[in-house]
Point group: C2
Chain length 314, copies 2
């Protein structure tokens, strides 16, 4: 992990340092300099390596994926009216909304500028970029709806989060010359890890400890955010005829008792069910990796990264 | 013009009709259905034809240019807080700001999706797309500055308006297999026409008749918008030691006497100077066209379109 990370960090720092001056580019460098795990570009380099390519040949494509991801962060933060990202002011809070819109637009163009002209890579990138937009659209629609099903939620996080991990891996595989079947497998691995990662995120919000996560425990529950846990919890309540979550959600957010909601989720068996779902998703994803690399030597780094993402406690 | 226009209209209507349902795509179809001259995509088809290509082979690239242009309109209207476009509600006014941000993002991705993977076309598109963003950035910065020079203003409209016309033509030329020298000439033609077009726009705001333009005469002057006319007018005033424009600008916009400002621009010789500049720019542009096509037969349509753009009265 750290070798790939160092390789990418040097590349992104070089790129940032060469940006022209001015408010069109400064927000890009600012956002890229915030602490980040660089999961997506590292996945691109790892996938390239896994299929026998030189990871350095995929650095620009890894950068394109990271620029795209940061463009979505810049615009999502406007749409979510978020003022902090990793403890620092978001771009629209630090500059203004117009600068964040325009700099984000330019960042998307720059992602394409470094991506290159390989028609297969472009097709994968375009398809998944559009899916990420569709995922964000669903996320915003779900905020206004009360009847979101578990299937709809999973499709939303698949589009919003998982497909970009799949694209990052697939593009690395394409750069290494991997065949179609291998591309499909590594993309399926990425999508499974992405779904498990997001579900783990939902679990940490409710059951993680503030000391570890740095966030208020149950923040999503207080805000009535329709995560896997809350949607499934309401489903089980309806089956059982209980109404604890339903009653809490009927209150004003400031009046909700988050501890009661967390206990209800536990009592309804939703915590355990979600944990099992994380394991199932991760297991299916790792099976794909095993098909690609039965001995498991070449894919050790990818496997370790996937496990760290779905078992994380912060 | 009308044959190219009909060819493109059918293409864009087909594309719009095939968009998936939902609020991510509906704003794209809405914006594309507003009345529009389709100057940019028609330029792409004309340039392809001029250099011996079949315009139908450039339809997707023409569409990419038009999608890009409409993406910039969708986001610029947010940044400018404009509620009307061609007499209809803008996307953010009709839906909301978040939908306009996200649908615009997706529209940019779709522009790339139809553009194709020709590395030369991609390079031209990326370069000019970034320049358009830089032009919008300058435009926003100029609103907060009082010391914008004529050179800075010309560079801003070159980036914001003229380069996309140049890109539209150049991409049509590339699709037809035109050589580098011809590409440069047709791009220079487009840039000159774009600059003349924008300067003509500034002139129409101040000296056009409301009955023709459908806009309040002198709206830019009332708002103190730093157009070619106002910047040059203030320069000439300083040289002559008069202060009419300066004094009007010191007032609150609602207190400005637009008729007095228009008369001042006329008396300072700025109207005439601007008209001469439009003619000079258009003449230089048309010279480029004559180099490409000395007889003038193949380029008759392009020449007529350019003349109509710089001589328009509405």
């Amino acid at each position: 992990m750290s070798a790939y990370r160092a390789l990418f960090d040097a590349h992104v720092e070089r790129w940032s340092a060469e940006l022209p001056p001015g408010d069109l580019y400064a927000p890009m460098a600012y956002l890229l300099a915030l602490p980040a795990k660089r999961v997506r570009p590292v996945l691109t380099l790892m996938a390239c390596d896994l299929f026998g390519g030189d990871p350095r040949t995929a650095l620009d494509q890894a950068l394109a994926i990271e620029l795209f991801h940061n463009f979505t962060l810049m615009h999502d933060d406007i749409m979510d009216a978020a003022v902090l990202r990793r403890g620092r002011p978001t771009v629209h809070a630090h500059w203004n909304v117009n600068t964040a819109i325009l700099s984000g637009d330019a960042m998307l163009v720059m992602a394409y500028s470094v991506l290159g002209a390989d028609p297969i890579v472009l097709e994968v990138f375009n398809k998944h970029a559009l899916e990420v937009c569709a995922g964000q659209q669903l996320d915003m629609e779900f905020e206004r709806r009360t009847d979101v099903s578990l299937g709809e939620y999973k499709e939303m996080i698949r589009l919003k989060t998982a497909v970009l991990l799949a694209a990052a891996l697939r593009i690395g595989a394409i750069k290494a010359g991997a065949g179609r079947a291998d591309q499909e497998r590594i993309a399926a691995f990425g999508e499974g890890v992405g779904l498990a990662f997001q579900l783990r995120d939902d679990l940490l919000d409710a059951f993680g400890e503030t000391a570890m996560t740095g966030k208020e425990q149950g923040g999503d529950l207080r805000n009535g955010k329709k995560t896997w846990l809350l949607i499934r919890g309401l489903e089980v309540e309806r089956e059982r005829g209980s109404t604890t979550l339903h009653d809490q959600l009927a209150r004003d957010p400031s009046e909700r008792d988050v501890a009661v909601m967390i206990t209800a989720l536990r009592d309804l068996g939703v915590e355990q069910e979600a944990q099992q779902e994380v394991q199932r998703l991760a297991g299916t994803a790792l099976d794909e990796l095993e098909h690609i690399d039965p001995i498991g030597e070449r894919s050790a780094a990818l496997r370790a990264l996937a496990v760290s993402l779905v078992e994380r406690t912060a």
